[in-house]
Symmetry: C2
Amino acid sequence: MAQTSPTFSPLYRQIKSLMLVALESGEWSPGQAIPSEQELAARFGVSQGTVRKAIDEMAAENLLVRKQGKGTYVASHNDPRSLFRFLRLVPEGEDLSHPVSVPLECWRAKAGQEAARVLAIEPGSPIIIVRRLLEFSAKPVVVDEIYLPGEVFQGLTLEMLQGWKGSLYSLFETRFGLRMIRAEERIRAVAADRRTAEMLRVKEGVPLLSVERVTFTYGDRPVEWRRGLYSTDEHFYLNELN
Amino acid sequence: MAQTSPTFSPLYRQIKSLMLVALESGEWSPGQAIPSEQELAARFGVSQGTVRKAIDEMAAENLLVRKQGKGTYVASHNDPRSLFRFLRLVPEGEDLSHPVSVPLECWRAKAGQEAARVLAIEPGSPIIIVRRLLEFSAKPVVVDEIYLPGEVFQGLTLEMLQGWKGSLYSLFETRFGLRMIRAEERIRAVAADRRTAEMLRVKEGVPLLSVERVTFTYGDRPVEWRRGLYSTDEHFYLNELN
DNA sequence: GAGTGGTCTAGACCACTGG
DNA sequence: CAGTGGTCTAGACCACTCT
């Protein structure tokens, strides 16, 4: 028997799409409360339960955050709770200090073949490259090289990076209106080259984690490509499998 | 103002607890269908919607699997779909072949301090140690050393491991009634020692991923501790951050 | 107390599976 | 066709937050 409706989409998913539009268009911005379930139900002409189910899914995807008695908020990287959502590196001991980002360089370039492919832009189009260090308790643990599409990050400077208190993604969100939704990391083991070894204060040739990350914003659009080299003598990469 | 009920637990969570008991006790076993939502609602004296919400959570935790039109099933590691739930290693190219497990050794020992701590058993109590190779397209890529509490895995032998077609966890589930629910992995970069290098057919000193995994069954009880060394010249560890 | 999200119910109907 | 999970509704009440 043929499917009766091969493209069947339940009502709450259509509502979800409408809400995603409100997010992408900036009608609702990070950290702000969205309208109450009652209001949304009225606005979309459905029952509260249907709106609820749409919100449920979006909360599960970390797009929204529910706060009982207060309202539903657009998730934000400014929220300290989402600090470790993308950083999986953990100190071996009881060290509870916050990691500190130390921007080193920031320059313009043209996208090569690989960067263009990963960022889904034209080869030769402008990109911005950032190098920075991540320190735990004043100890350098990660060297990152970050590739950003120039189109989106116009006006990004080293001074801006150095002046920012908070995570990179919180800066991207606040200054460029770009919210990072999800990421993919490819992890390999590599030997430290001389330059990296110096920066991480380890010996040349020491095994490091190479963590290559592609980060996506709304609509699964890739907007960041970074490669980090992690020293794992006093830290480890923690992954929870569910 | 004091909280009116500091230990408030909604009805659907209580239902969930009851269903967890049914799972742990073996009343419902992996791969089998559980009673329909209607039946469960009658059995527990609640509405279908409440049962539904309990099942929703358990499905989100990969304890149950819903199949529209058929019923709700207890998740099983025999299901091919759950094969890559815990193995995050991916070949670089288009290689779609299944990894093959090659058990090498299996012997008895007494738990040392660390093994005892991780497995939450007494130091000196019996454990079983398994060494095995994981091959992709006949190429050795991972050497695993696996520590299991002897209490639980009585009767496990090298022959049993070698005779088994399927994943380790599917064997554990079928032969020992132990279902693995979740795991934590700690990843570091290390240099290959001579013995490992030979087994993985790489040079001594080559950087490898060290992946230490603790696996838990129902009730967050740790029942497996393993350390794998991954060669990442033709494969990488893929992690999705959401 | 007013407003928010969170729970629970009862009932109707839809989509999918299998005999 | 009967039985399953999936959707949608409308309404009642609860827990939490802030004023």
